[in-house]
């Protein structure tokens, strides 16, 4: 059902905060994962047990320091130690679904609180918006609800081209798109929970209005996504161009660290596996005439892609983490989408659908491995 949580002082953020407080104080959850705003205005994901701390909760700020799926993985592993609420964006819930399938997280005893996502800014842009007071976040949010965006910096590229900003897995779903937030906070919620929280159903909910806004937003993003992907595909199609794209790579592995899917504690690229005896480098240089040192940069990216592209949720955290502005996320989303299409797989969609590289059927691709 759809319930309405009243706005206090016409302010959406205050409403969200008090809504989250009711989850803790009505004992629906024991702890809540949600971004808090520090005294300096930084938006930092946190685990909250004291409802008073939620005075500074801010899950609506359009910035995302980490993909929260990683945090929920750390918090749950095989099973959450308490009833846990998690306020997440769509790309976070989708990554979380993949991590559950990879046996790195659990949804048992986890209440997913999804929020429509109007997109996020690069951290530096977010800070500039704050510092230079380009616009009030409340206004930006109201505009986003109507499917508009205020004048200012662009959203992160991943968000500009995000075609799944609406969380699908949520137990509780906070609507932003649609009627706007003027009339209150619309909450999609199960009846039992609604009763516990004292929410009454909204009878005249403007479903049409919401659908219209979503359709328009998705349409724009879809168009941009297709354009970005086909431009990149054209570039990648020419021999050696992927090497050029990664030429400036510092091998810092930030992209991997920021990626919610890359969970391996014993990643090959964090070991000495590619440390060779000195003669080895010299021999390689004799063979090729010259070699880059240290090398194996492209090897790192292509291997990572082979390991995880089927589960890439296009969150773009890798791009945001890259110090030299390599469009890692665009590259991984583009190639990832192709790999996913080969298996008819949509990451983050269905917990029951097995990971494409873990499952198999005896009768498939029968031509592979045989003489043509």
């Amino acid at each position: 059902m759809i319930g309405l949580f009243p706005l206090k002082d016409g302010d959406a953020l205050t409403a969200v905060r008090s809504f989250l407080q009711t989850l803790l104080s009505n004992d629906v959850v024991d702890a809540l994962y949600v971004p808090l705003e520090s005294a300096e205005g930084q938006i930092l994901p946190a685990l909250v047990t004291d409802p008073a701390r939620l005075e500074s909760a801010n899950p609506l700020a359009p910035v995302m320091l980490v993909n929260g799926a990683r945090a929920i993985s750390a918090l749950t592993q095989k099973k959450a130690p308490a009833r846990l609420g998690a306020v997440l964006r769509s790309c976070e819930t989708r990554a979380l679904v993949e991590l559950v399938k990879l046996q790195q997280a659990s949804l048992e005893d986890v209440l997913l609180i999804g929020v429509d996502c109007p997109g996020t800014y690069e951290l530096a842009d977010y800070q500039a918006i704050q510092k230079e007071a380009l616009f009030a976040l409340e206004d930006a949010l109201q505009a986003a609800g109507r499917g508009e965006q205020l004048e200012g910096p662009d959203l992160r590229l991943a968000c500009q081209m995000c075609t799944q900003p609406i969380p699908e897995q949520a137990d509780i779903h906070l609507h932003i798109y649609g009627e706007g937030l003027a009339g209150g906070l619309f909450v999609e919620i199960g009846e039992e929970l609604a009763e516990k929280l004292g929410l009454t159903p909204v009878l005249d909910y403007q479903v049409k209005k919401r659908q219209q806004v979503i359709e328009q937003v998705l349409g724009d993003k879809q168009k941009l996504r297709e354009a970005e992907i086909s431009a990149l595909q054209a570039r990648l199609g020419s021999n050696g161009s992927i090497a050029q794209m990664f030429a400036a790579c510092l091998r810092c592995h930030n992209c991997m660290t920021a990626c919610p899917i890359c969970y391996c504690k014993t990643c090959l690229f964090r070991t000495a596996a590619f440390d060779h005896p000195p003669e080895h480098y010299l021999n390689a240089a004799y063979r090729k005439g010259a070699i880059r040192l240290l090398g194996d940069t492209l090897l790192f990216h292509l291997t990572r892609m082979n390991h995880m592209a089927a589960s890439c949720v296009s969150c773009g955290m890798c791009s945001s983490a890259c110090p030299v502005d390599i469009p890692v996320g665009l590259i991984f989303s583009t190639i990832g989408t192709q790999v996913q299409a080969a298996f008819g797989y949509t990451p983050g969609k269905d917990l029951q659908e097995p990971l494409p590289l873990v499952t198999f059927q005896a009768n498939e691709w029968n031509e592979i491995g045989e003489v043509k």
Binding site: G240, G289, R292, N306, I335, Q338, F343, V371
Partner: protein, 143 residues
């Protein structure tokens, strides 16, 4: 056009211990003729060939990589080769999408008794790689 007549492709082959490696051995003990362009690495199962082991020689300049495993249904670890097959599908997509020629990587099911099939596979692969010419990665240093 490269002078493909004098070009001798170098192939790195990962062969599963139970089938293809034994098949290659049989080809040897039966004195079957096949081109000497292949360096063989024995693995326990085709599924233990992580993509990194295929990519490393390719990026270092090997002209081709062969993965050899038991026929579907015959894997000594039950289902390893079915997973190898899916991983191969993903790898082919990724190679193609990132501008590499996926025809440099072969997957073949060759049993312990198929010495001739192993010899034929190497012969075919050498011919096909000669046609393609040397791996452009042989001169790519900035990777």
């Amino acid at each position: 056009m490269p002078d493909n007549n004098h070009f001798e492709p170098r192939i790195v082959a990962f062969l599963c211990n139970w089938c293809t490696y034994t098949g290659a051995d049989l080809a040897g003990t039966s004195r079957l003729q096949y081109p000497p362009n292949v360096r063989i690495i024995r693995t326990m199962c085709s599924s233990s060939v992580d993509p990194v082991y295929v990519l490393k020689p390719l990026l270092d300049g090997a002209d081709g990589v062969l993965i050899g495993g038991c026929h579907p249904g015959d894997c000594h670890y039950q289902t390893g080769n079915y997973k190898t097959r899916r991983r191969y599908v993903a790898m082919q997509e990724i190679l193609r999408a990132s501008g590499f020629d996926p025809r440099r990587v072969w997957l073949r099911w060759i049993s312990a008794s198929e010495g001739q099939k192993f010899a034929d596979t190497i012969t075919d692969m050498v011919a096909s790689l000669k046609e393609m010419g040397p791996n452009p990665m042989q001169v790519a240093w900035a990777i």
